[in-house]
Symmetry: C2
Subunit: 305 residues, 2 copies
């Protein structure tokens, strides 16, 4: 079985105070896919343009990513350009060109539908996220969705309609506060749960993540401690990609809250590696040994007698 | 044996968007003492004025706090007045009157010196913190100090001279960044360790705390999830008071990194209770059962398979 991941593929132009790179593999689905494929095969659902580099396609292929759900358009690939501040905590978007993404509506080939056990709706419009679920029917075991401030602002109703369809909603702390008009993150998590998703993760960047489940279940994890960030673009997408891939790798038809806790640890480690290079470079060369070493260390970092 | 806690005793005037109270027990040593006394007897070293309410003294006495090291002056007690924003994340100081605190220099009675196993230098000038250690000599098993942005700015050299004398330095994330002129908290922790203290805790408020020890030892803990904050004044002081009291309660002459991890859990729980009422009200009525219940829950919140 596989993880189905829908969302954007982008060509990123990223500038930090130390370096600058163009035509990087970017987009919510790309980061999530490279992260998930560390654990499990991925069915990718997205769209690219004629200018999408062959090398990025090769990367997907070498990682057992099924591209049957990727539409190849004559237009130009979605492009994003941004610059990070010295401390990497803020970034300024210089340019966004939606291009082929603007009119895209995901279509899921039948071949993919049958083999998708975990569904990850990476950041995209709620309309597109609904459309993916509509086509998949009752098949998937576990459905995860990410969102962003844009959709909370311009598509709130469709986003709210999506929530009851989700096993897991994932969003940033600032997005949760915007969504609920409430500053306390514990209250945000509980209010989001009441809106329908079976579980909610609030991401807090360098401060880790909070997980809220049914019957008052709660889990808190720190981030992996990093001395230097080279490019945090895609860290959140890698985090949920890691979660989705790990959950699929369990090979089970029912998932527990304990599975989600362990998944957050796995997602945290891949997100940390993402921050240590531009684009998906660190993830591409990540070995099982290096991953396991950090996973073991991370467990020790929060364990006490 | 006992915990020696030196620092300020204040009368606080606290305003939130929901309530306002005057003549509250406040000050770094007061919060730390009430928190520590939950676990172990305390020798308090501080100063109060003629206007200090008898009821506050009674509170200390009922909690097995030795007041031999408290100077009773004819002047007025140190007073602080402030107001919190709606979300409790920022506060504005309306007025500070140092009063008797201004010229105070701590003097440690011999009776206290002999019985002080753990020393907590709660927030105070580095000069006073040095003075306490000078008088205690080689006696204490473990020395903890807190500080604040004021001392980093106006007394940096004396603060730096204090660091090698400490087993544990505790400070806020914003203070660590100010001290090191470095935004990455992992780097801050490591650089602070290199300045002499055997261990460093960086407090992150609602995001918990990071602990750095020798040989790369590291620990991260979340905060206890609170739905409502009534008055966060003194949360950080309660946190280190809980740490100091718990460490003393272990009754050992040598403390390990594992002890510090467990101490952080204990400090986190008392700090959470502090936020749920004005001043030390919640701590005053806290039962062993309610404390243990949250301590158990807190452990589960960060444990995973």
């Amino acid at each position: 079985m596989s993880v189905l991941i829908s969302g954007s593929i982008a060509l990123d132009h990223v500038k930090t105070q130390k370096a600058e790179h163009e035509n990087l593999l970017g987009g919510s689905a790309s980061f999530a896919t490279i992260a998930a494929s560390f654990f499990s095969p991925v069915n990718l659902v997205s769209i690219v343009g004629h200018d999408f580099p062959e090398s990025h396609l090769e990367l997907f292929k070498t990682r057992d990513v099924n591209l049957d759900g990727v539409q190849f358009s004559d237009g130009e690939t979605f492009r994003w350009s941004g610059e990070y501040s010295e401390d990497m905590n803020t970034r300024e978007t210089h340019d966004v060109a939606l291009n082929v993404l603007e009119a895209w509506q995901p279509d899921i080939p039948d071949s993919i539908k049958a083999s998708s056990r975990i569904v990850l709706l990476a950041n995209d419009s709620p309309d597109n996220q609904h459309r993916v679920l509509d086509q998949l029917g009752e098949g998937p075991v576990f459905t995860i969705a990410d969102t962003m401030d844009l959709w909370i602002t311009i598509a709130r109703q469709r986003l709210e309609e999506l929530l009851p369809r989700l096993d897991l909603l994932v969003l940033n702390d600032s997005e949760a506060r915007l969504f609920l008009e409430e500053s306390n993150l514990v209250v945000c998590g509980e209010k989001l749960l009441a809106m329908g998703p079976r579980n909610v993760i609030i991401k807090k960047g360098e401060h880790g993540a909070l997980l809220f489940g049914s019957d008052g279940k709660f889990f808190t994890a720190g981030a992996y401690p990093l001395r230097e960030l080279h490019d945090p673009t895609g860290a959140g997408d890698s985090f949920i990609g890691g979660i989705a891939g790990y959950l699929d790798s369990l090979g089970r038809d029912e998932l527990t809250f304990d599975d989600l806790k362990s998944a957050i640890a796995h997602g945290t480690i891949v997100a940390g590696f993402t921050c240590e290079s531009f684009s998906t470079k660190s993830l591409e060369t990540l070995s099982k040994e290096d991953f396991q070493s950090r996973l073991d260390a991370f467990r020790a970092f929060s364990a006490y007698q």
